[in-house]
């Protein structure tokens, strides 16, 4: 599960003074919970997701992820193990340019030292389901934006993580593909995966009603 209490996170110094990005954030998402993360651009949605993905550590407050309290004193090896259980879909996809689509998607499994046959099987099945079965050996640069986004989503779900964080995961997808991806994410929650999706897509939010976290100017103004 995810539990934040009065968490503050400050970005680096900006224009001579420190800019507070997130302030006094408190919320909890149970195991298998789904939350929309809503708010205007610059509200701090990506920052909150980065915090939950352990790309940054909170300056103050309590942050608990999957039963581990995140403090500056947590061992780096423990953070690495935790990251293997938390997947993130970035807006810029963050695919390895030198690897094929199949190898990109199989990367989390290989880092977990899974058997190579198992990796090949899982990756092939998932890519086929995502409509990328014929592009498995292509490089990211050869794919369209939508295909790259689907690859990033496939990489995020392939290892069956405990938490999936998605930053605008459907902005390059057509409506049918977006619905397909959201359906999959909702199904994963039924299997115990906690999912937080940041989006500007109001239609999608209306189509899949779920509790939402509303951010504005780095503050949580609604948890409904």
């Amino acid at each position: 599960m995810i539990r934040l209490e009065k968490v503050t996170w400050q970005h680096g110094p900006s224009a001579g003074r420190e800019r507070e990005t997130l302030a006094n954030i408190s919320f909890a998402v149970p195991q298998g919970g789904f939350r929309w993360l809503l708010g205007p651009s610059g509200a701090g949605k990506s920052s909150l997701l980065r915090l939950l993905h352990l790309e940054a550590l909170p300056r103050s407050g309590t942050c608990e992820l999957l039963g581990t309290s995140i403090t500056p004193h947590v061992k780096r090896s423990a953070l690495a193990r935790l990251r293997q259980r938390i997947s993130m879909v970035h807006q810029d996809y963050r695919l390895m340019p030198t690897l094929s689509i199949a190898d990109n998607v199989g990367l989390p499994l290989r880092l977990q030292k899974r058997d190579e046959d198992e990796v090949a099987q899982e990756v092939s099945t998932l890519l086929t389901w995502m409509g990328l079965g014929a592009r498995q050996s292509s490089c990211p640069a050869e794919l369209s934006g939508g295909e790259q986004q689907r690859t990033a989503i496939a990489r995020a779900v392939v290892s069956r993580p405990a938490i999936i964080l998605a930053d605008e995961p459907t902005n390059a997808l057509d409506e049918a593909q977006a619905v397909r991806v959201l359906t999959m994410l909702r199904e994963l929650t039924a299997m115990g995966t906690t999912v937080i999706v940041a989006t500007h897509n109001d239609a999608l939010v209306r189509r899949y009603p779920a509790p939402a976290l509303h951010l504005e100017h780095g503050k949580l103004i609604g948890d409904e």
Partner: protein, 316 residues
């Protein structure tokens, strides 16, 4: 299977690290280290050999050896050389006194005068005296010798044995400092190459870190690649150093008592290489040289591990 896994993590270190430059720089450092080590080793061996031989030896040089002795102590001794030999025979601590003949003198002076012979030169008689261990000369001995053969030079080799040791020790310290410096420069070069590789793969490293790759995994990937390149450079540098070391060893052979002469460079090279293959080179020296690639490997591995782990500390 595991090597395939490692090769498919997107780091592609074969293209990220400056392979050829790194190998060349490490090879240059290894060449310097090998030459320095061999020089120090040779100096130590020569010093030890000379010191061993000099421990109880005394050299007596009698000028104008064939002239009659001035105040002969022994009526049978007609020449100054014979007079000095007779006096030496009276020493209670004497083991052996041997006057070098013409051939022995020629051989002794060959490194300086070549093989032209010394018969035309007005050389003194040289007497090698072997004394019992810890022996001292009677107080009046030198005066007596001088009175019979003026200008006779008596050299106790003990006197300069300590100086030889001191010189050898200084050379070893200098060599150790030079090798340490070379090692430091090699580590700096390896560190810079590793940082170049980290810079080239910055985005991939951030992705891997985000996917949960432990620091040890990333550091291990870099360290194994850098260690392999460092081993290649170390081996190349050491191999390149072997020939000059062998040639210098052969050239220095007469200083350690071996009778070696070379007419031409080809024969010198041939003999040098031959001495390597037939075991004419010290095993300790060869073992020491063989350690250089291994030391470079360890240095490369350790440096890469350190640099990568420090770099990864930027990421939480």
């Amino acid at each position: 299977m595991s090597s395939r896994k490692q090769a498919r993590d997107g780091l592609a270190l074969a293209h990220a690290l400056p392979d050829r430059s790194l190998i060349a720089m490490v090879a240059a450092m290894s060449l310097l280290a090998a030459l320095t080590f061999a020089g120090a080793f040779g100096a130590r061996e020569l010093s030890a050999r000379w010191a061993r031989g000099a421990a109880n030896l005394m050299t007596v040089q009698v000028p104008d050896p064939e002239k009659p002795a001035i105040v002969p102590s022994d009526s049978a001794a007609a020449s100054r050389a014979d007079a000095v030999l007779s006096l030496l025979q009276t020493l209670p601590s004497l083991r052996r006194a041997h006057r070098l003949d013409t051939q022995e003198l020629d051989r002794l002076l060959a490194p300086w005068l070549g093989n032209t012979g010394t018969s035309a030169l007005p050389l003194p008689a040289v007497v090698e005296v072997d004394l019992t261990s810890g022996a001292t000369l009677p107080d009046t001995f030198v005066t007596t010798v001088q009175s019979e053969a003026p200008g006779t030079l008596i050299e106790r080799n003990d006197d300069w044995r300590e100086q030889l040791h001191a010189i050898a020790r200084s050379l070893l310290v200098c060599a150790a400092l030079a090798i340490t410096l070379v090692g430091g420069i090699a580590a700096a070069v390896i560190g810079m190459a590793t940082r170049l590789g980290l810079g080239a793969r910055r985005d991939s490293l951030i992705i891997l870190h985000g996917l949960g790759a432990p620091d040890g995994y990333v550091a291990g990937r870099f360290a194994r690649r850098v260690a392999l390149l460092a081993f290649g450079g170390g081996a190349l540098g050491t191999i390149l150093a072997v020939l000059p070391i062998a040639v210098v060893s052969r050239l220095m052979a007469p200083l350690s008592g071996a009778a070696v002469s070379h007419e031409t460079w080809p024969s010198l090279l041939r003999d040098s290489l031959h001495s390597l293959t037939i075991g004419g080179t010290s095993t300790d020296l060869l073992i020491g040289l063989g350690c250089i690639p291994l030391i470079m490997t360890i240095l490369g591995w350790g440096t890469a591990q350190t640099i990568v782990r420090i770099w990864l500390r930027r990421l939480p």
